[in-house]
Symmetry: C2
Subunit: 282 residues, 2 copies
């Protein structure tokens, strides 16, 4: 493997976990981390990174792969500001939760070179809490890690090597079109988040923040409201960059809830349960 | 303890688990089960009951306590049909998920004797699958078990003894007014169920039943759709007997989702996340 140095920009939950995961699986190269000082100190103290650099331009020096692991808005900004400083023998990749706007920015910055210089990625992994404090070397074990490359081009050697690392930390790789990715994630990730947030916010409004609600609802309520703890900073960017798909999904669920509400006493409720029971994991 | 014989009518997930739990904690009395033949055979084979009776009138003979552990509609019917056959030294209790209509029926049948003959109960325990196959002796460990008695009366000796058994299987007992119970459960249990059902049904409509959706959504989607597998037979009765509270909760969440949808690009989304973050478990 020729990958001797990797830079992770954003050493929070995802970036920090990726560093820890690589170290745990024996990655022999150097991992440079880039973030705010206190976060880098924490990341270095737990062994997620070898070298700490606050300045991104310094952080990318000498690395063959640069992984952008910040919220989507900051990834887009980073591609614009950092892209021109990255030499064309370096692979830039990311972990952004939406892909269309990121891909558009990378195409704009890298032009004809786009598909051998940028590999858009998205690991389906996370927690309801963000930050390096929650980093976990096994976060990607068994998780899906999407790539949305230009399918008409052969992947570069570096892209293959990076995909090898992703497999090495336990993730399953899948390729998907960026537009289809954003629609799928609107339904399977962004919609569930908004449902959980709406449920938790409604409960607080109805009963006040000090009500002992979670024990009243048992395991089901705890599960349904777990991701309501997710940080706005991440979801703001997702909502901004996937608004159309998410609006569509939300509207359809609102209509379905209204249908359920209007049919609490009819057999229509049964057909809703029958339809829901068809959801399978195979 | 004078409780020598207990009848469980409905030996499915809840009734069967209660029998198993009592046996595991060394209950020395006889447990009579009443259900359909095949279910009783299963319940007896795993040791959840000692004696099997298909006929409820035979099943209650000689028992000091009769526990109704069927869906709410059947509990109401059972109180009407079986109530007059139960002698006044026997305690009738139930595990119904809504309490107002059950209490109204018991008051109607038992009249002035109501509060020493009937103890309305509701364990906050369950699974997404029903049936004796899923019975679990530890189902009630750490769970809340609500009673909604007439607070102006002293509990009878039998009611105290039954509450002792409930504590013995690991549940925490709490008393609550039946109307407040139904409103609270509409929000903390019935609303989350309908959200999960609506999410799962929408996903099936959008992507078809064979899409590998759950792995795309990771842990969050799995949790958000787990209870979508719950049986309609149980939820039909809950929806019928708690329609007003549930309608109110559904309407408020629909409005909140619409507000979120209309504000995906504004700071209003932040205040929804802030409000949701206030939900606490203390």
């Amino acid at each position: 493997m020729s990958l001797r140095q990797l830079t992770i920009i954003g050493t929070g939950l995802i970036g920090g976990s990726f560093g820890l995961a690589l170290k745990k699986r024996g990655f022999a190269g150097t991992i440079v981390g880039c973030d705010r000082g206190a976060i880098l100190e924490h990341a270095q103290s737990i062994g997620a990174i070898d070298v700490a650099r606050v300045n991104p331009v310094e952080a990318i020096l000498g690395s063959q792969v640069v992984l952008l692991a910040t919220p989507v808005g900051s990834i887009i900004e980073m591609i614009r500001n950092l892209g021109p400083a990255i030499t064309d023998d370096v692979l830039l990749t990311d972990v952004g939760s939406t892909k269309l706007e990121i891909v558009a920015q990378a195409r704009h910055i890298f032009g004809a070179d786009y598909d051998h210089r940028f590999l858009p990625g998205h690991p389906i992994a996370g927690k309801e809490h963000s930050g390096i404090e929650f980093a976990d070397p096994d976060l990607f074990q068994g998780a899906l890690w999407y790539f949305t490359p230009d399918i008409n081009r052969e992947p570069t050697t570096l892209a293959r090597e990076f995909a090898g690392l992703v497999g090495c930390v336990g993730a399953h790789i899948a390729a998907i079109d960026p537009a289809e990715h954003d629609r799928l994630c609107a339904w399977t990730s962004h919609l569930p988040q908004m449902l959980s947030t709406a449920l938790a916010a409604s409960l607080v409004e109805e009963f006040g923040p000090d009500a002992r609600l979670l024990e009243n609802g048992g395991r089901a309520l705890t599960e349904m409201t777990r991701i309501a703890g997710s940080p706005y900073s991440m979801w703001r960017d997702i909502a901004l960059t996937n608004q159309e798909n998410l609006s569509d999904a939300l509207l359809k669920v609102e209509q379905r809830l209204a249908h359920i509400r209007e049919n609490l006493k009819t057999r229509e409720l049964e057909s809703e349960f029958d339809q829901a029971h068809k959801l399978r994991n195979t």
